[in-house]
């Protein structure tokens, strides 16, 4: 092997299992969001129609949404990442404070494999997905839950859907703004330079 100056040194960020978990979850979430839009936004509902089909797609994509993460648990690398996402150290507090003050200097944004924002996003979207699943099931099996519950579940499902849509747009927007981060999720590898800049505590 020859070491060439124009080939940046890369490091492994995500295993194949982790990338597939992300890919399938993203696809299912995409179906959920698109079908939801077609059920909800009048202009789209008018354009697409086929309500029974769209409902079926939405329900099954929603039911399947937790499956990739659960299946991913057999991967040791994925379990390790869940550990990273769960644990917050003192540096995460520093990161969050900098984010609140819109301080973008790398020095004030210390991060391990995942930064504090990614950790909070991951935990929140996992919880929100389960809330959507629970309220969705209550809306689906209409005769199984008391009446009042169902209207309440619809209320939570609607408003949380809107919130998830906004947060998801933020997630995608941030990915679009960082090609190297996207490459990490696509190919599993990132440049060492990027890793040391964005996640300085990761490879210590």
């Amino acid at each position: 092997m020859s070491l060439r100056a124009d080939t940046p040194v890369t490091v492994r960020r995500f295993s194949r299992a982790e990338r597939w978990v992300h890919r399938t979850t993203a696809a299912l979430m995409g179906v959920c969001v698109l079908t939801a839009a077609c059920l909800y936004v009048p202009q789209l509902a008018e354009l697409v129609g086929r309500r029974a089909l769209v409902v079926t797609l939405h329900i099954w994509a929603g039911l399947a949404l937790p499956v990739p993460v659960l299946a991913g648990l057999v991967s040791r690398a994925f379990r390790a990442d869940l550990g990273h996402l769960n644990r917050f150290g003192p540096h995460d507090r520093t990161w969050l404070r900098a984010a609140l003050h819109r301080d973008k200097r790398p020095a004030s944004r210390p991060a391990g494999k995942f930064n504090a924002g990614q950790k909070i996003y991951a935990s929140w979207i996992a919880g929100a997905t389960l809330v959507m699943l629970g309220t969705g099931l209550m809306m689906w099996f209409t005769h199984l839950t008391p009446l009042l519950w169902r209207t309440s579940a619809t209320f939570v499902h609607d408003w949380l859907a809107l919130t998830i849509g906004i947060v998801l747009a933020g997630h995608i927007g941030m990915a679009l703004a960082d090609p190297e981060s996207r490459k990490g999720m696509r190919t599993g590898r990132v440049t060492r330079e990027w890793a040391d800049r964005e996640h300085p505590l990761w490879r210590r």
Partner: protein, 249 residues
């Protein structure tokens, strides 16, 4: 050349030990969701009031996209719905009748009109208060066609090509069941099922079939589109579909 760095992937480095904030955020989100379901009724009432008044002053129409933002929602089960106007629209009354009839829009407009102002209640939860509907009583069209004694029910078909509805003959003869030509004191637009839709005031709004094109007298109730998919056939508001909404009529 690539440098493989196993640490950070294979096992968690000691630097990543710390408070399990992730788990707390996760469980907190779940708890908030459950709390939201419990606290939904008062929250919903408050929001509906607020958004309803905001929607009145909102020129962009964006509030209409918010959940429970007030007003109707468009539901269609067909892939696309043809448009019909005064020239192309026809309503047929047939089946177990002595005089099968076809009405044009002008024919229907020439008949005595009845105006009803009731709440509209959708089975999915939204409700639009005090909505005027105007049109011909269904019972008038049935009488004009001469319903045979063997007829027990009415089947409705729509020019979207897909949707169907049904009523028993007794339900169909009620005074608050209209073949509606106008809604909110305007001619029925396409999005609201125009030029002619059914309006069954005392029942959930899925009974009020849009784009009505056929009225057929049958010897038994044939379940309509949503009814084959689990909704109640006798869809009285507040007494069906597992709901307890305030009756609308």
């Amino acid at each position: 050349m690539n440098e493989d760095v196993p640490e950070g992937v294979k096992e968690g480095p000691p630097a990543e030990r710390g408070t399990p904030v992730g788990r707390r955020v996760f469980l907190g989100t779940l708890a908030l969701g459950a709390l939201g379901v419990v606290a939904a009724p008062p929250l919903q009432r408050g929001l509906e009031g607020f958004l309803g008044s905001a929607a009145d002053k909102d020129p962009t129409g964006l509030t209409g996209l918010l959940p429970n933002g007030g007003g109707f929602r468009y539901y269609s089960v067909a892939s696309s719905v043809p448009r019909k106007n005064a020239d192309t629209y026809r309503l047929t009354v047939d089946g177990l009748v002595d005089r099968p009839t076809t009405y044009t829009l002008a024919d229907l407009e020439a008949l005595p009109q009845t105006r009803l102002v009731r709440d509209v209640q959708c089975v999915t939860g939204w409700r639009v208060p005090d909505t005027p509907f105007e049109g011909v009583r269904l019972s008038r069209l049935l009488d004009a066609a001469g319903v045979r004694p063997t007829a027990k029910a009415v089947r409705f078909t729509c020019f979207d090509g897909t949707y169907t509805e049904s009523l028993t003959l007794a339900q169909a003869r009620r005074a608050d069941v209209l073949v509606a030509l106008r809604m909110q004191d305007k001619d029925l637009g396409h999005a609201h099922g125009g030029p002619v839709r059914l309006y069954v005031a005392p029942m959930y709004f899925y009974k009020s079939a849009k784009w009505l094109s056929g009225i057929t007298l049958t010897d038994e109730v044939r379940p309509g589109y949503w009814e084959k998919r689990g909704y109640d056939i006798d869809a009285w508001v507040g007494r069906s579909n597992g709901r307890d909404d305030e009756p609308t009529s």
